[in-house]
Amino acid sequence: MERFVNLTLSGVTTGVIYAAAALALVLIWRSTRIVNFAQGGMMMITSFVAYSVLQASDSYWLALAVALVAGFLLGAVSERVVIRPVENAPPLNAVIVTLGLLIFLQAVAGMVWGGEPRSYPFAFGIQGFEVGGMTLLFSSSDLFAVLAVVVVMALLTLLFRGTSIGLRMRAAAFAPETARILGVRVNRTLTLGWALAAMVGALAGVLVAPATFISPNSFDPILVFGFAAAVLGGLDSPLGAVVGGLTLGLLLSYLSGYAGSEVVTLGALVVVIVVLMVRPEGLFTSTAGRRV
């Protein structure tokens, strides 16, 4: 029982991080129909930025804030400079461009920060909470990670549902031409979508960095898990990304606890394959099934 509780708790903690990574992918997919293969690279750059700020200032919170702002800017600049030219081109062009961006970011990181993995601290302690004499695998840092992701989700929901900017973004995502006819500057909403996505990714990066360390390639697996979570939830649905992330986190936590940690990545890929075979539109989606 204790084992099950602990596996569940650690599943939730990793699940919210997968959810944030998935959300970053979904925000971009639903507005531009592009799978952002550079997402892991963007998270890596913003985590390195956080690392440098932390070295200089010794403030976890300043480092987090700067990472979020850096993510926002990196997302906006990426969209304007490299994605815009391929937005109306065949889908494969965008795939190649995002892969190219990933390699570019990894190369830049290697030149600036080197290839050696850097450690990154947790927000708070890592001593698990004690409940009834039992030490849970859930610390105040884990609680912070869960709360941070929940707050970001709530803010995004508020933005999309409650503001005119959000209304413009949703309209541009669902029906770009109609949105333009109604005066929505779709180019701007796309830039903002990429900026927000990269910012959510930056949060995921900082939260997962203590576990993965930071090196030019250390976030590649997170992209796999984030993609699996997004596919599970339905690439179109932000709610799906969250549910998909939590489900995947729990699933992989049980898998790692009961079957061994070496099968975790395999498990994520099996989830992708099974979802695409059985329910290609994902658990939550607003559009009809995708052809795969």
Partner: protein
Amino acid sequence: MSMLAVDRLTVAYGPVTALDDVSLAVPEGGITAVLGANGAGKSSLLRTINGLVRPKAGRVSLAGADITRLAVEDVVRRGLAHVPEGRGVIVELTVEENLRLGGLARRNGGEPDEAADRVYTLFPPLAERRKRLAQTLSGGERQMLAIGRALMSRPRVLLLDEPSLGLAPRITAEIMGVVRGLRETENLTVLLVEQNARSALSIADRAVVLNVGRVVADSPASELAADASLRHAYLGF
């Protein structure tokens, strides 16, 4: 002066000419119908007027101002609203959200809630469904929503693309009645594209007939309706 004027417009998609030297003018408060078969260039005409398509030659002006090179997002802010073919309501949004969206590019201010109330008065079925997704609306209600959404920007000119498409004659008549009413109450200028010539001629004061991208007739609607040979040749009734 014309509220909307199209002067010698030529539009080509690659080697295919969609509009060839097309001119027409709609006076303020006028309703002009553009008639013609499928592929005559009717939708291309509207898409060029509103800035979605760039013409090869020619000029479009709104209340005397040249809008030929303006992007579609700016044209709507000048007071020209477009109700696209196939109604173009955003089915993933609610009725209310569709209307709010239409009001975001409002010309010279005004309260958006007031504008929405006016739309609900014009089209009562929408008022009962304001929290529903547009997906749940019938064809007629979607057309009402598309027109209502265009009105949210307080336009001077309304471009209507095939409003009768796929609708029952009774619903079509109802919608045409509202359009005619808007001309009377607000002096709205309307350019109406239709394959259904009979219903368009019932509200238009002038009609232009397009055939393979060229204007083959431009006359008062009553004269056109009376011209049997023209009707047979291009309008099929």
